[in-house]
């Protein structure tokens, strides 16, 4: 894998600049049981959790970057420091020229943080009430508000739900309303933490499309964390890979895939079982059913394609990169060894 901190877009000024960023939490610890509970009353033991450790990266304006890592890697903590919710233990960071922890009003007007598991909408009021409150709080004019609200409710197909109490909306509808509430003031930097969590495929696609469209229209910088590789592949060309609080990779998705799995995935349909023999000569067989899937060394792909196409009973040939889920799983498993 390439060295961490590789700046792939040094020609443009950074919109987000992070240098040696660390966040340590002091957490209490005790064994299970009554005796341990009583002992903890008089003597507490503490651990220091190094959630983020000396992370450095730069993001230019308008980029869409994915922050990836296993659970507890430090992704959300990093995102919260970028949004000014958490004060860093060490290091420096600027977002759009501001120090996030200072929480200046002009900084807060230029960012949005959307978290899949948290909400800003009032549970028992219609989403429109929160939109109107945000309009005043962010100083959006009536005409801009009307125009942006119409635009977003149309894009997200929300017109029929914004007047209902939030508690009566489905998860997907709620998340779409959260997006509207977060973007009404047209932020220049958007932090998205698992924005499609728990949603069905249709809803995921709609939200991905919406985020991409917002980024392209307004040139907003997007930093995304997601466990759905579909989100990452559809939205971001650059990934920051975090594990154990440390930045392990910074670069293009293609570069990551190539470095971890220097193979191409070749898939063919071979309905007749007799024609599937000898497939392991071409590469590693991942699946040997009617659809045969092979991982083939990149340098040999054209030869393998030629051979496969010359074989009897072979059709529907397709060449892709290995799925991002598999690549990341491999990265995280290597880490554990």
């Amino acid at each position: 894998m390439p060295a961490c901190g590789t700046d792939v877009r040094v020609s443009r000024p950074p919109h987000i600049q992070v240098s040696g960023l660390s966040k340590h939490f002091r957490v209490s610890r005790r064994e299970a049981g009554l005796v341990a509970a009583m002992r903890a009353v008089f003597r507490r033991e503490w651990d220091t959790v190094r959630a983020v450790e000396e992370v450095s990266f730069r993001v230019t304006a308008g980029e869409r970057v994915a922050l990836l890592g296993p659970n507890g890697a430090g992704k959300t903590t990093t995102l919260k420091m970028l949004a000014g919710l958490l004060h860093p233990t060490a290091g420096e960071l600027t977002v759009a020229g501001y120090t996030p922890a200072a929480r200046e009003a002009s900084f807060l007007r230029s960012i949005a943080l959307v978290m899949g598991q948290k909400r800003q909408l009032s549970w028992d009021l219609p989403a429109l009430d929160t939109f109107e409150l945000n309009r005043v709080v962010y100083g959006v004019s009536h005409s801009d508000y009307r125009q942006r609200l119409d635009e977003m409710t149309e894009l997200l197909d929300l017109a029929h739900v914004v007047s209902r109490p939030v508690r009566q909306l489905s998860l997907g509808e709620r998340m779409k309303c959260e997006l509207v509430a977060a973007l009404l003031h047209r932020p220049k930097v958007i932090f998205l933490d698992e924005p499609t969590l728990g949603m069905d495929v249709t809803m995921q696609l709609k939200i991905r499309h919406f985020i991409r469209d917002y980024n392209e229209r307004y040139g907003a910088t997007v930093i995304l964390t997601s466990h759905y590789m579909g989100d990452v592949a559809a939205l971001c060309s650059r990934v920051l890979l975090i594990a154990d609080g440390e930045l392990r990779f910074d670069g293009d998705i293609d570069e990551l895939v190539k470095s971890v799995r220097p193979v191409k995935r070749v898939s063919v349909t071979i309905p007749d079982k007799r024609h599937r023999v000898g497939m392991s000569e071409y590469g590693m067989v991942v699946q040997r059913e009617e659809r045969v899937v092979l991982d083939v060394e990149r340098g040999k792909v054209s030869d393998v394609i030629a051979h496969l196409l010359s074989r009897e009973g072979v059709r529907d040939l397709e060449v892709t990169d290995p799925p991002l889920e598999e690549v990341l799983r491999e990265v995280f498993e290597r880490r554990r060894v």
Binding site: F25, K80, G84, A105, K118, S122, D124, V136
Partner: protein, 262 residues
């Protein structure tokens, strides 16, 4: 900008208060203890005045205590503590408006709804109890600033305690301990003038009395002008003390905020 934002938060708070009207009615009923005290003390006063209160005096005092308790209520301690512990403060911290302003307006906005529910109850009790001593309009007007300051004391002490949630697991327990003392020393269960004289002198300079007993005594016309001015001064002092304490805890606490939850 701030007045416009405060007004928008106030409108939003009213909408929430209307949405939670059933809960609010229960809270109003849960704080009607002065009406229980009314039954007890007015019965005891049938044989003659106690500490300057005759039967009608007790009726007026406790109905006034009940109403003023409703109009000076706040719950920022419970809301903010929960937000700090569960990381729900994030949503407020991300807005370019101070989270305390949000709580202030949200608590303040519920007062009209609370008054709307409590007033008929208070009037009903007054009629049922056979009427109390009359209240002068002048005293009603003199009570208004004391009400605002009493609310300021309740809100700022709750805020100061809630900010301890940045360090403590259960800051609300501390406020509940404060409430226990408040019940006895504020004039909620009995007028503070009924305590032994030297003890009453001490009680009357404490924030508990300033937050309830003092406005009740102003409304019931039991204070001289000098005592009124002195009481207002004391209220201002307590509001300032607790506000400074809350501001300090807030600023220090925010650097420790864990923003828990994904």
């Amino acid at each position: 900008m701030v007045p416009r934002v405060a007004a928008a938060m106030w409108r939003f708070g009213i909408a929430e208060a209307v949405a939670y009207r059933a809960s609010m009615f229960v809270w109003v009923l849960a704080t009607c203890f002065p009406l229980v005290s009314l039954a007890l003390w007015s019965y005891l006063a049938e044989e003659g005045p106690i500490g300057g209160y005759d039967r009608g005096g007790f009726v007026t005092y406790f109905v006034a205590a009940f109403l003023i308790r409703q109009l000076t209520s706040a719950w920022v301690c419970w809301d903010l503590t929960r937000q700090i512990r569960l990381g729900e403060l994030d949503a407020l911290l991300l807005r370019p408006a101070h989270p305390v302003l949000h709580h202030m307006m949200s608590n303040f906005a519920a007062l009209p709804m609370r008054a709307f529910m409590a007033l008929p109850l208070g009037v009903g009790v007054l009629i049922f109890a056979g009427g109390g001593d009359p209240v002068a309009w002048g005293d009603v007007l003199r009570t208004l600033p004391t009400l605002a300051l009493a609310w300021g004391i309740v809100f700022s002490i709750q805020l100061a305690v809630a900010c301890l949630a940045f360090w403590l697991t259960s800051a609300t327990s501390l406020y509940e301990a404060w409430l226990a003392v408040h019940l006895v020393l504020s004039g909620y269960l009995l007028p503070t003038s009924l305590f032994p004289e030297r003890f009453a002198e001490v009680i009357r300079v404490l924030p508990f009395h300033a937050a309830l007993g003092f406005p009740v005594e102003v409304l019931t016309g039991r204070l001289t002008h000098g005592a009124y001015v002195e009481g207002i001064g004391l209220q201002c002092f307590w509001v300032a003390c607790f506000s400074v304490l809350a501001a300090f805890s807030w600023r220090r606490g925010l650097t420790r905020y864990g923003s828990v939850g994904a």
